[in-house]
């Protein structure tokens, strides 16, 4: 019974979302606010369960060092009390510092060394040539080739020199990569709608065969 009611309610809510295509209206606004409220509730509930499981429970068992992260966490809320709002910077700095450390340890091996290594291919076939030149020119385009106004000066100085060749090769590779990324993004966005139509015209109005 609860599931049947829920299914029809879901259908109504999806239609309320679609109604936004015509114009913003009450049904859409209510649905949107209901969703934001749930999302915030979810954040509180899951945040609390993390705090309890990783902080409070072990603290009760005698792991007093956990007072440090718990106090830092509470200090995040100092931002709402002006005289102490600067204290909210402590946990923020802690999170940023730790995240920076985690990021460096993550990217060195997997993203930098392994990827540079994987690009060192023998130039014995077209694919390898495209891979090596494409990677190198993209990297050069981002790191070494001036763009915008600066580029015009360089262009004038170099004419059709090696700089321009690398710039254009890098640009072509990036454009092809971005174009294909766009194609995949389209694919994703369309499937969101297909899934909702499958639900509406499969479960609510049974027109789609199983």
């Amino acid at each position: 019974m609860a599931d049947t009611v829920g299914t029809y309610l879901s259908g109504l809510l999806i239609v309320a979302c679609f109604s936004y295509l015509f114009k913003e209206n009450r049904a859409f606004t209510y649905a949107e606010h209901l969703y934001v409220g749930f999302a915030a509730a979810q954040a509180i509930v899951l945040g609390w369960s993390n705090i309890k499981e990783m902080g409070l429970d072990p603290l009760r068992q005698g792991k007093f060092i956990l007072v440090i992260p718990l106090v830092l966490g509470v200090l995040l809320y100092a931002r709402y009390y002006k005289p102490l709002s600067h204290l909210a910077r402590f946990p923020l700095a802690f999170m940023m510092g730790a995240a920076a450390g985690v990021t460096i340890t993550g990217v060195i091996d997997a993203q930098l060394v392994a990827q540079v290594k994987a690009t060192m291919l023998p130039m014995t076939n077209l694919n390898n040539v495209v891979m090596v030149l494409g990677t190198a020119s993209t990297l050069a385009f981002f790191l070494f080739i001036p763009i915008g106004k600066k580029a015009e000066g360089v262009k004038a100085a170099n004419g059709f020199g090696a700089g321009n060749l690398v710039r254009n090769l890098g640009r072509a590779t990036i454009m092809l990569a971005f174009g294909s990324s766009y194609g995949y993004t389209v694919m994703a966005r369309l499937s969101y709608l297909v899934a909702r139509l499958q639900f509406l015209f499969g479960r609510i109005i049974p027109l789609i065969p199983d």
Binding site: D109, A110, Q115, K117, Y184, M187, V194, F201
Partner: protein, 283 residues
């Protein structure tokens, strides 16, 4: 005076486009056209890798998606999980997005029974952890980071974790993701322990993981709704992705058709009006 045809080609009204899109989807959904389904190399590699795992192997299935993208990720996850269960693999679910746990609960409440899977023995759901990349890096010190399951039961009391030392005991990690977050597993766990990674991602994820597939850091990938449909067929498990592929095909055709129509008008207008050809921003 009405505008010339090449300008009208560039200014089809939005409502007409929206209505056509719905129609283009609905017709093949209601009356399937039986268009051919392609089989990508990435999906085949993913399937073959998982299919070759011996019974009892441990799959670490990370759930890093939310309802915004579950149209792609949920059919992928369902096809994968049914394949794990069909082959008797042990599953550890780990949500790294707030909503992830709810999808694991769906497996517990509905799908685990299909294959007689017992909670605690055949599969376990870990709790969501905040922190993004840190919540994945933290897995390297597994027991201090993850003392209990989603119900609060200590992991050491669950049969699946008897003899489990750390993430090195995991045979494959499968991040099911709507973003490139899955790459954090490559950065922290594949890099540290060499644990194989199979990625299940939404379509826009593929371009980002391409370099990691080519380098062998990611062994295979199930991408988008088409990847889910391919996996359903390869694994021989039921699912809703296959039925959606005709509609997906027609949607792509519509967009390409619209781009071509717009450009026809634009290029002809440019020829007639010189450089100031209508750029199609009017609607």
């Amino acid at each position: 005076m009405s505008s010339p045809w090449y300008e009208r080609l560039q200014s089809i009204p939005k409502p007409a486009i929206y209505a056509t899109l719905i129609l283009v989807f609905l017709v093949p959904l209601i009356r399937p056209m039986g268009l051919p389904l392609l089989m990508s190399e990435n999906t085949r590699k993913a399937y073959e890798y998982i299919d070759a795992l011996p019974e009892g192997s441990i799959v670490f299935h990370s759930i890093a998606f939310n309802p915004a993208v579950d149209a792609e990720n949920w059919p992928q996850m369902l096809a994968l999980v049914r394949h794990y269960m069909k082959n008797g693999l042990k599953i550890i679910f780990y949500p790294t997005m707030q909503e992830g746990g709810m999808y694991a609960e769906r497996i517990r409440s509905t799908y685990a029974a299909e294959y007689g899977y017992e909670y605690g023995e055949d599969y376990v759901i870990l709790p969501f952890k905040a922190g993004g990349e840190s919540a994945i890096a933290g897995l390297k010190d597994f027991w201090s980071f993850m003392p209990s399951d989603v119900d609060g039961t200590p992991l050491k009391d669950l049969p699946l974790f008897q003899g489990f030392t750390d993430m090195r005991d995991v045979d494959v990690i499968v991040p099911c993701t709507g973003s490139s977050d899955g790459l954090f597993y490559v950065s922290h766990l594949n890099a540290a322990y060499g644990t194989p990674i199979i990625m299940a991602g939404t379509a826009p994820v593929l371009p980002f993981i391409g370099p990691f597939l080519a380098s062998g850091q990611v062994k295979g990938a199930i991408i988008g709704l088409s990847g889910a449909a391919e996996y359903e067929i390869l694994a021989g498990v039921p699912g809703q992705a296959t039925g959606a592929m005709d509609a997906q095909s027609m949607g792509h055709l519509l967009i390409v058709g619209l781009v071509l129509i717009g450009n026809l008008g634009f290029l002809y207008g440019k020829r007639v009006n010189g450089k100031n050809g209508q750029n199609g921003r009017r609607s």
